[in-house]
Symmetry: C2
Subunit: 298 residues, 2 copies
Amino acid sequence: MAPRGKLIVIGGAVDKGSFTEKNYEKDIEKNFNFFERGILKRVLTESVHKIDSRIEVITTASQVPEEVGNEYLKAFSYLGAKNVGVLGIKTREDANAPEIISRIEKAGIIMFTGGDQLRLTSVLGGTAFHRALLSRYTYDDVVITGTSAGAAACSNNMIYQGSAHEALLKGEVKITSGLGLINNVIFDTHFVHRGRIGRLFQAVVSNPIALGVGLGEDTGLLITDGNKMEAIGSGLVIIVDGRFINDTNITDIELGEPISIEHLVVHVMAMGSLYDLDTNKLKVHKVIKEQIKNAIPD
Amino acid sequence: MAPRGKLIVIGGAVDKGSFTEKNYEKDIEKNFNFFERGILKRVLTESVHKIDSRIEVITTASQVPEEVGNEYLKAFSYLGAKNVGVLGIKTREDANAPEIISRIEKAGIIMFTGGDQLRLTSVLGGTAFHRALLSRYTYDDVVITGTSAGAAACSNNMIYQGSAHEALLKGEVKITSGLGLINNVIFDTHFVHRGRIGRLFQAVVSNPIALGVGLGEDTGLLITDGNKMEAIGSGLVIIVDGRFINDTNITDIELGEPISIEHLVVHVMAMGSLYDLDTNKLKVHKVIKEQIKNAIPD
């Protein structure tokens, strides 16, 4: 059954791991990145109650949860959304607390901030929070969104570490179970600025059932019906399809040795392009300009 | 007609744009990178007279030609090759001087250092030096090799600038004519550490006749008969084949807007893997260990 919820995964902000901006208060118009602002606006417009939606911001991934939480409160407020709470879940005990679950049950938008994705899965995985999240996504018209670590954790397999420079040495890319909102996809983030394509190549060659999805900075995917992906934001989404790999040395070499791969299929998606996870087809969107104009918050 | 010469293109050293190493004299064993040393050894063994070959080092690309020239003298000397000269061609007048051409006519190995590839093409392009180089490569069993800028300049089309971060914005990647030792290929270098795959994607989508070849640091390709490419060195070579692109927005969007591309074919080549430019087939090499051992200079 296709999930009723919508999933919006975001590759992170341009300069930092999280949404954090310098001199945020002082100069909100300039510092609040134009396009990430565009993506947050889209998060609101995709929700049932738009700016009146109840929004819960999950800061579990962050090492500075209060700071990050406050920034999202301000960011949403700037876009007109005032019904926002921060859920600073720090422990598995928190993640099983009935008052937390009750807030998740009532949210129209659930947003995961950046930080360390391994905190998301190790703290939330298998808890009442996690079950409530999956249930809401499956049965309700809710928007679930994550940026950076919050995006990486959405798929069933999750890259949590691995040097970009050594990403094609066997074993360098560390993968574990994600939150499983979507299967057979593996998201990587900060994809353009951190030169991470090798991480995705290694993840895909080790089991081509997983489609590699690299999200650039200020770039996201809106996923509806669990299978239709639309690129949003200013940058690019890279798709790595390993189903046609004919040959590789990955089972022949030892840990730390370089991987060869024959025949990966790669797509590049800019704003408005659509990818269907069932048919594995990309539809290239031709007109960018109009969409950039429409993405500007009023 | 297949060229009789061999071409060895190298992606550059790990830390720097050129071959330069810190405290070179003091600590040659440690500082002289293991694998680039391996590649230089291969340059010698591929030449007819091995360590007795006459080697000419072309420092035209570098802004510190004397320094770089001296380092190559030491590097080759360390490997037992003492018959080495540095050709510090700085102007088009130099590049037409009969004494320079006479040295090119007698060399067994011609090596282009790193620096700025646009210096190589703007100083050497169309000169007597350039004609002599093409003639030697076509008719003689000579080794022509270049690292970094020296590699980028070898193909008929050459990327000379373009931010890695914005490489998939239309027009961001700057391309011009290279030295044309090989056609229908476009080399990019420092490929892994500088996250440059987007540059190659843009180069390839704008005309898929060119095969994109990204050379990692301490990694090279030995090209024989003008069409057989063997990966050498410690890192990876990425091949981007655009012949199967079905759709793109590149002609619909304006300069500075993000490019979408459907269906690039990508291969990853580690040491020993072979790619045939005529058949576009990759042969994955399975055993790495033995080759790593053999690459260590005695």
